[in-house]
Symmetry: C2
Subunit: 339 residues, 2 copies
Amino acid sequence: MGDVNRQIVLAERPGRHGVTLDCFRLEVAEKPRPGPGQLLIRNLYLSCEPAQRGWIAAGANYSEPVPLGGVMRSFALGQIVESDDSHWPAGSLVYGRFGWQDWHVSDGRDIDRRCHAADGPLELNLHLLGLTGLTAYLALTEIGRPKAGETVAVSTAAGAVGSVAGQVAKILGCRTVGFTGSAGKVRQCLDEFGYDAAIDYKTAGDLEAALKAAAPEGVDVYYDNTSGPVSDAVMTRLRQGARIAIVGTMAIPSHPVPQGPRYNRAILVNRATVTGFLAFDWKAQFDAAAKQLAIWHREGRIHTRHDVAEGIEAAPAHLLRVLKGENDGKAMVRIAEAE
Amino acid sequence: MGDVNRQIVLAERPGRHGVTLDCFRLEVAEKPRPGPGQLLIRNLYLSCEPAQRGWIAAGANYSEPVPLGGVMRSFALGQIVESDDSHWPAGSLVYGRFGWQDWHVSDGRDIDRRCHAADGPLELNLHLLGLTGLTAYLALTEIGRPKAGETVAVSTAAGAVGSVAGQVAKILGCRTVGFTGSAGKVRQCLDEFGYDAAIDYKTAGDLEAALKAAAPEGVDVYYDNTSGPVSDAVMTRLRQGARIAIVGTMAIPSHPVPQGPRYNRAILVNRATVTGFLAFDWKAQFDAAAKQLAIWHREGRIHTRHDVAEGIEAAPAHLLRVLKGENDGKAMVRIAEAE
């Protein structure tokens, strides 16, 4: 393994059956050599996450889709093993967009964060201290701006992002209400992530009534990962000056644009604010956010779950489990040990 | 007239025919006497505006509906004729919620702004320097925050609020695109209010295509008075970081909540912000805003139209013209001269 670069590449785009194992192929390339000013990164952990479905679809998105035959785009935790850049000395742990492969050559621009072994288990860097945790923390604090005593509602409350958002809101002194999709996840929300109330949106029936019971005074902050019926219920229960962070739209298709209730009057009457959040717009805050999250984790105030598969060849199947909602915690694949 | 208080009161709530003349009744009451600490205001101009439909409807709104038999709620320009409050000396011109009546007794809390004869014709205080102009200016500058060179779209672009918003955006160096509802208003948008482009939403057919032609680079700021099809088109053409001020929902019913396209992905992908605006939340900025608007008006950079009816008994019919869109400029009724 040390002398070759195993890569999972995109074999075909998702068709009518969605993402399948046939979309991917393992290839073995030569271990790359860094050029002047470049770094050679050995990947230790590869991330599997819902956004990857969008990255291999043909439609427009934040970024160009992964080309056919190209290495599957992915966040990863790696270790710099060769460096021609004094800002990134060999041995550094780094988190960034390094792809599903053993080795990655970087000019530094695809590194999103310098990691620190002292922050805790390495897995944390792909979750709580990685894009999911940073997204949870920054969208909540920068867009939601919750104040102690306010009520914060979270959709996909037991998910990777939602579970961190809910816990941070609780740490900040808020009442938290989570929406999730099974009785088991409701229990997890209450027992593990500290939500004050959790609603199984699949069985609750009248979601507005369920939310009214869970948050009688209404919702000040809504951390929205889904759009769809959960959002429709929340938008009927806004308090004045409510802040809604749109972080994901998991419950609705991208094309064609689906129909739903027009929220305009709810936004107007409550002088609410709805804002779309993309973590990379807030890169300057990543280090401060990760530092705070690491402290809370060390203090035992934030709980995380990691669903770790072993070996690069396991990555496609592990991603499929994520897309089916079968993962138990943040999904990642371990492919090497740090030196 | 000097010794009695003529009042237009609410005779019945709008029924299936909407607001009609039968909703109102003229009554003659005694001229009121102010008590300790109170002011007696003689109304000079009464306002007629779309919001009044909401104030007499039974449904929930920002405020309690006008009670049956109660004086019709209205903005007005008045002059203080007796005062037991040194903050508001007799002779002061004041703008506030004084109702459709000759005389109003106030404790000062329903006064929204002190007016100044030097600012221009008195009518300005019910329009450019009143709630419509303040709403236009503050929602645009505080929520829309347009920068020179950006594109600002306005719905009901020739209306009382929209026409000021469009002109302010132009003064601030923006490219302005107005949506309006007739060929005549399109001409007015272009010739009188200085829009760079104007679209007749009733005849344009494909609104997205029309907007794309008018604003090829997309929309940075959307001043939304309507919701509905115009908004649906704008939301497909947002630029990154777009700001949408929801100021009105004229094109959609309040109940039941109508269906429309879900904007979530457009908001997310463009990291847009949608915010509901109610002018009274910004009362602390009223004087500064009015001062700026008065300067621009004196410089000839903002054009206004006033549709002035004469005599308090004309108020209900004048309001009906507003609700049918038949008014030509900001509608108001003159009932007395300033001393």
